[in-house]
Symmetry: C2
Subunit: 525 residues, 2 copies
């Protein structure tokens, strides 16, 4: 588990070996809807030289070993920004001005703490880097007033520290990426069950720092709900939290570091609830007359305490794409909305849950669509970011955003955000939506957009994104259900937590990070 994981170029998602051009039918579809406008291949520009004193780099090398303090262009380039479409567009345009000055790779909590001490002393920004999959500008540290930027790469912190089979918990280091963590746990007969879209690259530390939510959240819960303990290195010292599954020992400080996005400390260990490896996995499709009908069924399931492991519902537009064969769009094709239900567990538990859910969904007017849509979804579920690259190559802007609200507000939020996006993206464009995380009291809405790029696709998206964020705030919903705040959502955070909430975040930040070195400019207004 100590080998270097696959790296991602700042202009693209994922493993280059897996990147593929659009299949011919899809290419035809894209040309029909958006026209063809192939973009030139990206040529990497040279980076500006590092601004950090050689003496400081030497001290870092003394601390971590010279091989773990990198200032070469290739390494710095691979730690530049995250994977939002604006991040990719900037890199495609040759803008790598956010490259860190150096990439440091501590191997332990103590080494992280030592790096923080040195960074505070020399006023260097520290950007914790796990999987590099932020889609909200969480890896774009502000240099203002600081002497340079260190990317604190957690790639050497990939241990499974402890497993407690009685309590069903595991303690993981933050640099473990999703598949690495699952492989270590699988060897113990366990699973974490956390599968966000970014699963193949995103890290345990990042899941915690951003309050990630995965595709199996209905069965396993959000990542923050899986966390029972945390260790964090802060400039003020170490903090270890999690003395019990739950407690009344004052405010829950775990919930302050969860979602802190590297601004309050560097998470160096996470203790999570784990479950037995599933023996059986079944994924199915259901058809609903409308998005409203399907959403009402999800609400009924959630409020009945009868949730499958996976529960997703696409709106009419997304369903048409998912259900159609490429090329069939515009034909008679499919109508209504597609729901995916997935069941994971022991054969008996899967069958019992499946029978109960099937009975309830049938009684509510759903039509079973068999296992084919479910299998199609599960096999392609990590492909969307690759598809985005191909679409960007063809001059089509593709991006996602998400929010959440209470059930009674879903219709208003849906139409508000959809209208905001449709009215700002220009034509031709597509706005798709699905619900993929449900609670007794509400759910998230996840939007995917595709639009023919204008001459300035970055500005094009920023206008649309701002309109969507305004619509979210107007609807009283959350600015982010699981993508975190980063720099992109920061202008809307005060509307959500109010000036007193902002003041509290600043007070905590000032206490833990008095030099302001931790991911400056991110999260905290």
């Amino acid at each position: 588990m100590t080998s270097q994981p696959t790296e991602m170029h700042p202009s693209r998602w994922g493993d280059p070996a897996r990147a593929t051009a659009l299949p011919a039918e899809a290419r035809g579809l894209v040309e029909m809807v958006f026209g063809a406008d192939d973009r030139p291949a990206v040529t990497d520009p040279p980076l500006a030289p590092p601004t950090i004193d050689t003496a400081v780099l030497t001290r870092l090398a003394d601390l971590l070993g010279a091989e773990n303090v990198r200032t070469d262009d290739d390494t710095r380039r691979l730690r530049t920004r995250g994977k939002s479409t604006p991040d990719l567009l900037r890199a495609r345009a040759g803008d790598l001005t956010d490259a860190p000055d150096a990439v440091v790779r501590p191997a332990s909590h103590e080494e992280v703490a030592a790096v923080l001490d040195l960074a505070a002393e020399h006023r260097l920004a520290v950007v914790p880097f796990g999987g590099g999959t932020s889609v909200t500008g969480g890896l774009v540290a502000r240099r203002d007033g600081l002497a340079g930027v260190l990317s604190l790469d957690l790639v050497r912190m990939k241990r499974l520290i402890a497993v407690d089979h009685v309590s069903m918990t595991a303690t993981l280091e933050p640099g473990l990426r999703g598949p690495e963590a699952e492989a270590l746990l699988a060897a113990e007969g366990l699973t974490l069950g956390h599968y966000p879209q970014s699963f193949e690259f995103a890290s345990i530390g990042g899941f915690a720092a951003t309050r990630s939510s995965g595709q199996s959240s209905a069965g396993f819960g959000r990542f923050d709900a899986l966390v029972v303990g945390l260790s964090v290195a802060t400039p003020r010292g170490r903090v270890d939290l999690g003395s019990a599954p739950a407690n009344a020992a004052g405010p829950d400080l775990r919930q302050l570091f969860l979602g802190s996005e590297g601004t309050l400390g560097v998470i160096t260990a996470v203790t999570v609830r784990v479950r037995p490896l599933a023996e059986t996995k079944v994924y199915e499709g259901w058809r609903w007359p409308s998005f409203v009908d399907g959403a009402a069924a999800m609400r009924t399931l959630a409020q009945a305490g009868l949730l499958p492991t996976v529960l997703r519902l696409s709106d009419e537009a997304e369903s048409a794409l998912n259900l159609a064969d490429p090329g069939a769009i515009g034909g008679e094709a499919a109508t209504g909305c597609l729901m995916i239900t997935g069941y994971e567990g022991s054969p008996a538990a899967v069958e019992a849950k499946r029978a109960a859910v099937t009975a309830l969904l049938t009684s509510l007017g759903g039509s079973p669509a068999g296992e084919q849509p479910g299998e199609k979804w599960v096999h392609g579920r990590f492909d969307a970011p690759y598809l985005r690259d191909s679409m960007l190559d063809a001059g089509v802007l593709v991006e996602t955003l998400e929010t959440a609200t209470f059930w009674s507000n879903v219709d208003a939020l849906y139409s508000g955000v959809k209208t905001a996006l449709e009215s700002t993206l220009g034509q031709p464009s597509l706005v798709l939506c699905h619900i993929s995380h449900v609670y007794e009291t509400g759910c998230s809405l996840y939007f995917t957009v595709a639009a023919k790029e204008t001459d300035d696709p970055l500005a094009q998206w920023q206008v649309a994104k701002a309109a969507a964020c305004d619509a979210i705030v107007d609807a009283g919903a959350t600015i982010t259900h699981h993508h975190a705040v980063g720099t992109d959502h920061k202008p809307w955070l005060a509307a959500e937590i109010g000036p007193v909430g902002v003041s509290v975040l600043r007070a905590v930040k000032a206490d833990l990070d008095p030099a302001g070195i931790l991911n400056p400019g991110v999260l905290i207004p």
Copy 2:
């Protein structure tokens, strides 16, 4: 719902009309075990005159109306301290030195905010008062350096502000006591399902401020898990949190105010998840060969996702008392451990859950004990504090404490705390324990002690309590699972959250309450 609720004298629990002497058999039991040592009735001493300037009281009266600013001895006495045994012992000894100088009764968020402004201006401590049921010294504000103490009585804030039947949420004012909140919700066909021991008197605001957990936590969850939104009045201004069931918009600030025990602000509204009123309620008993066996069964249920609404397990000593007829103790009586399982919901849901739990418990070696033990428990479940008064009247010290840990640590925690209590309480004494809150990863342990009072029962308990808290810290468990920190657990909080955690709490406190008026001396070391 606007009538004045029953008041509790500082030396006793509950409604005087319900207080009863010990039944003859129980009296016999107490005499046999502890001897008889009847204590004289308490005579209330006069209180020291209020120290607050008349001009300030006049301004408060202008704000709230003269009838809502009380300085008479009777009102002040009824807002003195909480209901821990030390609180009662001090009052029984005629020590009411912690009486507030005045009791103010705001009727709205705005009136609360105005009181805080005035209190900050004149340096008056403000102690929020809901049900007055703290058992950890949460209502004992430190006067040091301040001009006086206001009890901020939330008795006029008892509205059901909003109900959302679609999202299944309700917004409640903080002064509603448990039965009042349930009555308002029942009129809507809903229930909150939160039944702590203190249910009859404790308030919604207090549930939130102390992270209360109720006897139906297995089915309904801890109170903090029920909360989706909060409004708080702080000296720095109003904060409203809860834009969605869950979000990734930075740290979850709701979790900072939950458990804040009146030190960071006054909670003026709480939005909670609600459920349909149960049509059916069934409570049963199960017998287990040992506490270890019963606890293992609870763990299996929790990790199988198969929890009844109520799930409790008494250790051998507590089971002997619960299962025995009074007077039969020492005879052949019952052996083993008693578990209570309760099911609440629709008839179909109750039957399905009951069948599944019954099958699993039977397979694990449990023996059904019928409905009688369950019915006995449910009918007497709020009586213990009354019984404590009767025991104190007879010269028997009675108190409880609780903690929680992960499953793999339960045995060590149990024996550590039990030994600490038994070795410090003196003889004769009894130490009983039960598990009443379970999670996939662990559970709480709730201890009840009874001991013949020494000449100084307050010191007697303080020595035993300190030994128990040390044992909890030594075991790496939490100092409190649901009673909160107050003043009594404060010396052990730093061991749990570390110096960095303490620093964060202080920073938040300094930001929100720069004058240090909010419940000073409570919670924050």
